[in-house]
Subunit: 397 residues, 2 copies
């Protein structure tokens, strides 16, 4: 049985804060702070350029990739870290499209994170030649998979509502129609059990600063199914994805396996913090994590619905169709979230009216959930959101 | 007059080391260590998600871009930081090509950093349709600029030899032929005076971990001439380059000016270190820096040539045709560099036979140069390179 008291002790959590935004930016694992300091002072400061060899900086992206692989049911050697999620979406989609040269449609849904759709738009614009992005309602995805689809590109968990796609069934349907799949695990990795190999996924990408607690702007990851690793060519063909980066050849030759998806020089300090953050997962069983997430989510929903008639659940009511977040719609959601944050309960807001709460058992327990419910109830009952300060929109919402 | 004793005191330099590899990875500015720690502990740790507003994380890429702009003669608001140099090359080249839709040739030279050529290869492969990369010898670039060239893509300073292109003359020639220019400033920014606006450059990119001392894997920068900022469309169209990222629209609309060249979530801790590293430049005059660099380089060349007949200068002898590095060819260059490093003189090696030394006046003086000459002379005279340990190639050379 996973010891969630022990995992909680691994995080620094500010006094008096209930943190329900780990789905946006995970909190600071204590070892990540130490490791980042060591990367700066002992490695960069003392070893200078020699740290690329002496401190193992060059292997960092694959070493970290392998640790993430274990959390998402991926084969060893099939995941590499680097860049941002948007860049990795572009790489995966470009490689997938090249594997279906006779097809022109990328199928996605309107619940996908906009940046994924934007990157697809940019790529398809480059390709020209009849390529087209088709977005449908999330519940209509299955019905739209046919033999015109080159790539099915979906985010498993909807960033707004937390709705969970059935990765295995949709991947099977895509394959039956001859399409390739690209799964975005932004709200899945570290949030719930993922089994990429079991689902037969082709490509997957994800970020590490949410449920993996890697720190603000921590690098992304990309998965290429081992069966595709020889055929998947990186459109973003940078020198660290070359077969022999230090030969400095003038022509590109793709490196081995997923290594070819590396591009330029990785952010070493940021990678060091991420690597340390992954230590937290050593004794965590993903099935335990999922049960605990459901338990806490159900408690939160029941409490909020009992005390706040003003808000409406927009996440699926069935916990098995939901990721590890709970979202409520409320007309004055932005202001209400500011009122909550001012009182130490941190969630976030997504346009147009969604109050979003991440449920993260690694560092949240019943007492936190109950406190959040109590304060939300006060904000609603006393209309605490009805204050001009809370209606002024900040740059980042 | 720039006070180079004062700038030297701003760096942490390990005892007994002469660091001649600042052209590969600049050493640790003391304030960068403090700032990275604060970004981890006071911002990520204490402020959590609210740091995006409270700690100004969202504006970091443009704020830093403006500080770099001043060092490369760029207009305010024309530079933004993020991603890696390879990614920025792709963005600049894609945008430049789209501005010359009737032309198909990207002209570059064989002294360009291979990753720039690889990224071009990847992009042109995506575009298909007759697009082609043409690489010529560095000295033949001017003669190959004609009206078939869509984009002239060059690195100003050759990473191996330090040979310096004439940015102003080549840009003028490119424009006269109707071509667009993409300049890579990897070995220029912070190394010598650059005047992008004065040269009429169209696009430029560069990295910040070399002469700008931003730390291992610090993010890259991209410059878009203000006259192009409305027409330059980012092929890598991520959400932070969107006109309104937090509106979460389903379709992409390019943001204002160079802001549209942002892609995904930036590496905040790495950016914080970089921002602090730029403090060093506050009282540095680039003309002073250049004079001092030439003075120290000439001293180094004279000393090495006087004491080491085994090596041959491969950098241009005329200091005005050279960046801020000095390179010598030597058959056993790899082993000789290992022998030097073992004795505290850190330079680096570039295949097939180049020993490369970065000359960085911010933290190097005559005594360092003289010590490096003395030790190199010993390594050569006593054939200290002739030891099996020094011939074993590490992963990173």
């Amino acid at each position: 049985m996973t010891d969630f008291e022990a995992t909680r002790a691994m995080f620094y959590l500010p006094e008096g804060v209930v943190y329900l935004d780990g789905n946006s930016l995970g909190p600071l694992p204590r070892t990540a702070a130490e490791r980042a300091k060591a990367a700066v002072e002992r490695e960069w400061g003392e070893m200078l350029i020699t740290a690329w060899n002496k401190a193992g900086w060059m292997e960092q992206p694959s070493r970290i990739g392998n640790r993430i692989a274990r959390l998402i049911g991926a084969e060893s050697g099939s995941v590499v870290t680097g860049d941002t999620l948007s860049i990795k979406v572009y790489q995966a989609l470009a490689a997938a499209l090249a594997m279906r040269p006779d097809r022109r449609i990328v199928l996605s849904d309107k619940g996908n994170f906009p940046s994924d759709l934007y990157m697809a738009e940019g790529l398809l614009g480059q390709l020209g030649n009849g390529y087209r992005l088709k977005t449908v309602e999330p519940e209509d995805v299955a019905a739209n998979i046919d033999d015109s689809v080159a790539v099915l590109m979906l985010t498993e968990v909807d960033y707004r509502t937390g709705r969970l796609h059935d990765m295995k069934a949709l991947t099977r349907a895509a394959h039956a129609a001859g399409a390739i799949t690209v799964w975005d695990l932004a709200h899945s990795a570290g949030a719930l059990p993922v089994n990429l190999a079991g689902a037969g996924a082709d490509f997957a990408v994800g970020c590490t600063y949410k449920f993996l607690n890697g720190g603000p702007g921590a690098p992304a990851f990309i998965y290429v199914a081992p069966r595709h690793s020889k055929n998947a060519l990186p459109a973003l063909s940078g020198w660290l994805g070359h077969e022999a980066p230090f030969a400095f050849d003038l022509a590109y030759r793709a490196g081995r396996g997923v290594e070819r998806m590396r591009v330029g020089t990785p952010p070493v300090i940021q990678m060091a913090a991420l690597e340390a953050a992954l230590d937290v997962w050593g004794a965590v069983d993903m099935t335990d994590l999922r049960s605990r997430s459901i338990e806490l989510s159900e408690r939160f929903i029941a409490g909020v619905e009992a005390h706040c008639s003003e808000v409406q659940l927009v996440s699926p009511r069935d916990p098995h169709r939901r990721g590890s977040q709970v979202s409520f719609a409320f007309e004055n959601g932005y202001a209400a979230m500011q009122a909550l944050i001012a009182r130490g309960v941190i969630g976030d807001f997504r346009a147009p009216d969604i109050m979003r709460f991440g449920i993260t058992p690694l560092y949240l327990g019943e007492a936190d959930i109950d406190k959040a419910i109590e304060i939300l109830a006060e904000v609603m009952a006393d209309r605490l959101w009805d204050h001009p300060d809370y209606h002024r929109r900040a740059a980042v919402t």
